[in-house]
Amino acid sequence: MTPRVLVTGMGVVSSVGLGRAAFWRSLVEGRSGTSAISSFDAARLGRTLAAEVQGFVAGDHLTATETKRAGRCAAFALAAARMAVRDAGLHDGALRSERASVVLGTTMGEADICGLLDGRWIVEGPDAMSPRVLPKYAPYLLSMETAQAFGCRGTVLTLPAACAAGNYAIGFASDLIRAGRADVVITGAAEMLQELQFAGFVRLGAVAPERCQPFDLDRQGLIVGEGAGVMVLESEEHAVRRGATALAEVGGYGLACDGFHITRPEPSGAGVIHALRDAIRRAGLTADEVDFINAHGTGTRANDAVESTAVRAVFGERRVPIASIKSLIGHCMGAASAIEAVSCVETINTGLYPPTVGYVTPDPECDVAVVANVAGRGRADVVVNHSLAFGGYDAVVLFAKPDRLPSPDARGALS
């Protein structure tokens, strides 16, 4: 029998709050995390704002050894993981098992360490790269640190899938449970704001000067963000056995690749359409049963238009409420879809749709039912989480209220 995959705990590090309660409260109140960048001087680039996680003290969440060892990205991941494990009611040592795995996503991993080492090399020569610092750089260290912290002994993997990394990780983690390879998986993604990456996005012309306005006619781009979103996924049997509360079920996910352009989405939206339809199909549902869409919604001209095209193609005339919390927490790159997955599950648990702030003038190219400026309320049994990414990646994960979906075996495929 294929097990259901349940979300039993969540943790968040974001510009609008640490922990799921603070994060969610900020979202529904429409509080923006955008502020002047404090971690580096961005003045020359003409863009000085980002959704930076301020006030994060690694030592509040990590041991002294972990704090000394981990880069900012791994520290975000580990802090969010600790919150998620605590939220799931798992005691210390519960994950020291061959049946416990870690699957996390990112775009760049420890970009700060890489930048530090590279800077020393460029300015002082290669011998200035410290052998004590070098082992702290690897894009996969966030998963290793997390597995090390909890003693997980199963599969430990990092999926660098750019802005879709969270959805890739959650999808793959759910596969491990459905395939019977794990009982519990810590999954999600983390990303940190870093100077070179920020400059790159500015040079691509993707960064807005003041605010991110997804789906608005006058949108001018994204605001770069950072943070981490981590979930504890469990097989239903494992969760029931220990009396855990199920927050949601991971229903299914869809993947596609545009194969079109490294940064621009393919104009017809064929890849997004495929990923969205596949996620719904693998959950054993039809498009009519989706209640809310968490948009990728970057606030860039191309993304929002293509995403709207895909939504119309899949849902037709039905106006499914859609919101982009990137208008509040910025585009957290590799962490984006993981943090937004947490928001999706909160929507399922509260019936509240977070708002898309800055939505003033509808864009005929984005003819979708935007939850504009203030939080909405409505049916929220089935929620889809969109992500589009560098490399033409399209990934959609469907979350549902526990017991809302047919059994996995009735769905007829490994979802």
Binding site: E98, D118, W121, P126, S130, G200, G259, F390, G391, A413
Partner: protein, 382 residues
């Protein structure tokens, strides 16, 4: 694990471009690919400067020259391997699909560090000139999954595209991901494997870590006297398909992938985070062999690199798990290719099994730098 077919092998390596060149080189003595005067970067003579690189690498004879201008070395290696693999599998001929279609074929590949060359290039512009001068057409190269993303663009692959990063084990872990996705019907064929590109940054980093071979007279993967590894580069992408479906379309099945296992062992409190676990590899091998007749295992194709810190635990785990089987070391030919290593290990196993003198079942092993380990079982087609 449901058996999967390897129907094509795309190899872009210092041993040659293409499957036949790779196999032929593996039949000869190791060592020929290493040079002390690399063409991919310049560095002063140094006892640790001995790498296996594709000298004067030029992808144009394989993939043409249109659109290559802004691609980095890692991307170019992968593009060559992808084109060769798809053609070898009979999925494409002269660039056009002749089996499957764009929506049926995906790619899943590993890299340990992405393009350090691209990051360094842009960092230098930002720090020595001005971040406003960053070339936006080159910026995507700094993003780890870009290189694999370009494979889908060049080859019109519209099924899933995924990058795995897990250090040296990633090339085996990519097979696991591809296998789960094939089982779930997300693609009919997945180009699977890994790559790493030679760059000065990579070499300098390993040199500074003291991990490189500086005593060529005793260098040999698995030899306890050997104290360091030698870096290599390359891309290896294999077309992985459902076994029955592959036979159904009349494809040549070069090997079957029949088992995979992965495990992690946390460091003890007294240990540094960087550690190698024999226990993790022993468990990974055990998982990989579930459902496989152990008596048929005729060799281990190891990840032994010549770096004693890694080699000791790997040798111990192989001995404990597989007994007295012959242990082969592809890195003696290729060097340490990190994210590509697992895939090159699989390709080497396929080559050695194909000649019929090495039995018919190989366990490919790999250990990571932080307590992770993976194993894959490959057998000659029945």
């Amino acid at each position: 694990m449901r058996p999967l077919a390897i129907t094509g092998l795309g190899v872009c390596s210092p041993l040659g471009l293409g499957w036949d060149a790779f196999r032929a080189a593996l039949a000869g003595p190791p060592g020929a690919a290493f040079t002390t005067t690399p063409t991919s970067f310049s560095a002063p003579a140094h006892p640790a400067l001995r790498v296996a690189e594709i000298a004067h690498f030029d992808p144009r004879p394989i993939v043409g020259d249109k659109g290559l201008r802004n691609n980095d070395r890692l991307t170019r290696l992968l593009l060559v391997a992808a084109r060769l693999g798809l053609e070898h599998a009979g999925v494409k001929r002269d660039g056009a699909f002749v089996a499957h279609g764009p929506a049926d074929v995906g790619v899943c590949a590993s890299t340990a560090y992405g393009s350090l060359e691209a990051i360094h290039e842009l960092d230098a512009v930002a720090r020595l000139e001005d971040p406003r001068y960053l070339n936006p057409a080159r910026f995507p190269n700094t993003v780890i999954n870009s290189s694999v993303g370009y494979v889908s663009i060049w080859e019109e692959l519209r099924a899933l595209n995924a990058t795995v990063t897990n250090g040296p084990t990633g090339g085996l872990d990519a097979f696991d991901a591809a296998s789960l996705w094939l089982d779930a019907g997300r693609a009919k064929a997945v180009l699977t494997g890994g790559a790493e590109a030679m760059s000065e940054g990579l070499w300098q980093a390993f040199r500074r870590l003291g991990a490189l071979d500086e005593r060529p007279e005793v260098w040999a993967p698995g030899d306890p006297r050997s104290r360091g590894l030698r870096l290599g580069e390359g891309a290896c992408l294999m077309v992985l398909e459902d076994l029955a479906a592959a036979r159904g379309r009349g494809a040549t099945v070069h090997a079957e992938v029949v088992g995979y296992g992965a495990a992690f062992e946390p460091a003890e409190p007294s240990q540094p985070m960087v550690h190698v676990s024999a226990g993790a590899l022993a468990r990974a091998v055990q998982y990989a062999l579930a459902g496989v007749d152990r008596a048929r295992v005729s060799m281990a194709v190891s990840g032994l690199s010549g770096y004693g810190l890694l080699d000791g635990p790997e040798r111990a785990a192989i001995a404990e798990s597989l007994g007295e089987v012959p242990v082969r070391c592809p890195k003696a030919w290729m060097g340490e290719t990190l994210g590509g290593a697992g895939a090159f290990g699989v390709a080497a196993a396929v080559g050695w099994l194909a000649d019929g003198r090495a039995g018919d079942c190989a366990v490919v092993t790999s250990v990571g730098f932080y307590g992770n380990a993976s194993a894959l079982v490959v057998r000659r087609p029945e």
